[in-house]
């Protein structure tokens, strides 16, 4: 048994648009080990989003293999993919994607609703624990429009954590947030990572990528660079160095 969470071998993805074939991924290979904090970077059109959909089991490769926790995704049916997403992946989106007019607690409970093995009491307990892990005690009954952007993203992270996934998959999770809040979220991510969570973070901001342990650079549907971050920054320190008078 390896401790590889993701194993991507020569993955290709082609889309047929009318008569033309668009090759979004042209053979991508890399692994992610348990406990890593990997950023996937790339400019728009580099195949970043396609790769993300693939990693999130929302899409299947045209060619190549993708093993998630030793399961070959390509061989699974739609319903099996749904189950895989439910148990192994925690999504964090740029636009938070919380259900409107639904309390934070209910939003966090949502993934567990689709797991019939979990009782309603266990569901609630785990949702409360997840919200406490993202430091949102006392906000359980708040609906998304009663929460700030940063708080909403933390609810979304709690939702991603609640099913105890093997990997958290974040898509531009800080894209809608200001610098200070972004750093707060990254600090939370780093905390989760130090506690052993594997995180794959898609972004186009080099600034954010510096907080991770490794960066995979995509360009034109291929891996251009795959480097360990030597000068890893700590979000807590970055936060402390921000001028205090930011919010007035």
């Amino acid at each position: 048994m390896s401790n590889k969470i993701l194993e991507i071998r020569d993955v290709k993805r082609e889309f047929i648009m009318g008569t033309e074939t668009v090759r979004a991924l042209k053979g991508v290979s890399f692994d992610v080990n348990a406990g890593e904090f990997v950023t996937i970077m790339g400019s728009s059109g580099s195949g970043k989003t396609t790769l993300l959909n693939m990693l999130g089991c929302l899409d299947k490769p045209t060619e190549g293999t993708y093993l998630l926790d030793n399961v070959n995704v390509k061989e699974l049916s739609k319903d099996e993919l749904a189950k895989l997403r439910n148990t192994k992946i925690g999504f964090v989106f740029q636009a938070y994607n919380l259900l409107p007019r639904t309390t934070a607690l209910e939003n966090v409970e949502l993934p567990l609703m689709y797991n019939p093995l979990i009782s309603s009491q266990e569901r609630k307990d785990r949702a409360i624990a997840a919200l406490q892990a993202v430091k949102l005690d006392g906000r359980f009954d708040h609906t998304p429009n009663q929460l700030s952007g940063g708080q909403q993203q933390r609810v979304a992270i709690a939702r991603a954590l609640v099913n105890e996934p093997v990997m958290i998959l974040a898509d531009e999770a800080t894209g809608n947030l200001d610098t200070r809040t972004s750093y707060e979220i990254m600090s939370l991510m780093q905390d989760l990572n130090s506690n052993g969570k594997t995180i794959v973070f898609v972004t186009h901001e080099p600034d954010i990528a510096a907080f991770s342990t490794r960066t995979v650079m995509l360009r034109d549907g291929k891996v251009q660079k795959d480097t360990e971050n030597i000068n890893r920054r700590w979000a807590k320190e970055a936060l402390a160095s921000l001028p205090e008078s930011d919010d007035y």
């Binding site: 899409d59 319903d79 999504f91 949502l110």
Partner: protein
């Protein structure tokens, strides 16, 4: 997702859009309520027809004269002169399934008592008439066979006639009234029967021996009708056959020749009247069910809107592990819940209407469980049918596109 959670989810979704849910339900509510109301009015009128017919005697057979001449101007059956006392005797002798028989010779005219007068109908009958028509004597006695033989100048009065000729409230028994020029002694008063289903006052009659009416009033040997009662309700058909044979014989009709009389049973009349009211009910129910269908289309419409509105929600649910069937059920249950809630409200409204209508409009209504079960089933099916396509659309969404839907 567990069904109970899906139901809770649907309830929550409807609660969030209360007004919209209510407006969507409106079509179903109106449809179900009107189907139940229409069916209960139909059922009510059917039952009141049946009641009044059986109060007239369910084993009653009526024989009326009829023209057997083809062509020419058709005139009212009772103005043909084909039925005589010979027919009555023949029926008495040959028709084994006829229990009692009475001819009827009637005439309209003015009844007079002292200073009071009243236009009414005199019915010349035999004493059996009361049994056949389920009439009874409230005060006094019925005339005897002897009175019939002697064309006695005696009569029984209906309540309406009593009220008009004796407005002071004194007993008419023993008094002599006149019908036209003929003096008649009142020997009895009939028990009131009230208005018939066809709006006829059944108490506006004078009853006298048929001989008296034939000889003294009409100066005719013919009858307008012959009433008979079959031994049992089930024997009606046998009695009709016997009467048919007996009358053809007395009327000397050859084979192939048309009858110059007409025999009707109460059962036939009942079927005829019921078929009319059934048709009306069916028609009204059909109109009402159209609104059920329109209600269903309303549900379909709003579910499509709802699916489009919640595309991102669907995408999110899929990305965190909802299977297609989970999404399908979520929207299907929501649609069914709209239609079933509408159905419940409709049933309540329909039943209330069926209770209020008799009080306000004096129409009889009978609430049938059948109509409630049927309309309830129909609206559940409507919900499934019209909710299925939007739900299918939702479940077929691509999570990638749904998540990025603006």
């Amino acid at each position: 997702m567990k069904i109970i959670n899906l139901i809770l989810l649907a309830m929550k979704a409807l609660q969030r859009n209360k007004l919209r849910a209510l407006l969507t339900m409106l079509g179903i509510i109106i449809g179900v309520a009107s189907v139940i109301t229409m069916m209960s009015i139909g059922e009510g009128s059917k039952q009141s027809i049946n009641n009044s017919l059986s109060s007239m005697g369910s084993n009653m057979i009526t024989i009326m004269p009829q023209s057997n001449e083809p062509g020419g101007a058709r005139i009212m059956g009772s103005s043909f002169k084909t039925l005589t006392i010979k027919d009555v005797d023949a029926l008495k002798k040959n028709a084994a399934h006829i229990a009692s028989i009475s001819p009827l010779a009637s005439s309209s005219g003015q009844s007079i008592s002292g200073a009071n007068n009243w236009p009414t109908t005199i019915q010349g009958v035999s004493p059996e008439y009361l049994d056949i028509r389920k009439l009874s004597v409230q005060d006094g006695i019925i005339f005897s066979e002897q009175d019939v033989k002697s064309s006695a100048k005696v009569c029984l009065l209906g309540k309406t006639v009593v009220d008009n000729l004796f407005p002071g409230g004194e007993s008419p028994l023993g008094k002599v009234i006149r019908f036209g020029k003929i003096p008649l002694q009142v020997i009895g008063v009939l028990t009131p029967k009230g208005t018939s289903n066809f709006g006829q006052d059944q108490d506006d009659i004078i009853i006298a021996p048929y001989t008296t009416v034939q000889k003294r009033v009409l100066s005719s040997i013919y009858f307008n009708q012959i009433y008979a009662s079959a031994t049992k309700e089930d024997d009606s058909d046998a009695a009709v056959d016997e009467a048919n044979t007996a009358l053809r014989e007395t009327h000397k009709l050859r084979e192939g020749e048309e009858n110059d009389f007409q025999i009707r049973t109460q059962a036939e009349l009942m079927t005829m009247l019921n078929s009319t009211s059934s048709m009306m009910t069916a028609l009204l129910t059909a109109v009402a069910s159209i609104s059920l269908v329109i209600g269903g289309i309303g549900i379909m419409n709003i579910m499509y809107v709802s699916v489009t509105e919640r595309t991102r929600e669907i995408g999110l649910r899929m990305s965190i592990g909802a299977r297609g069937v989970d999404i399908l059920l979520q929207f299907l249950i929501e649609a069914v819940m709209i239609s079933v809630t509408g159905g419940v409200i409709g049933v309540i409204l329909g039943i209330s209407a069926a209770i209020i209508i008799p009080a306000m409009l004096n129409w009889p209504t009978v609430i049938s469980e059948f109509s409630i079960i049927i309309s309830f089933l129909v609206c559940a099916i409507t919900g499934i049918f019209f909710g299925y396509y939007p739900a299918l659309k939702a479940s077929g969404l691509d999570p990638i596109e749904a998540l990025r839907y603006e």
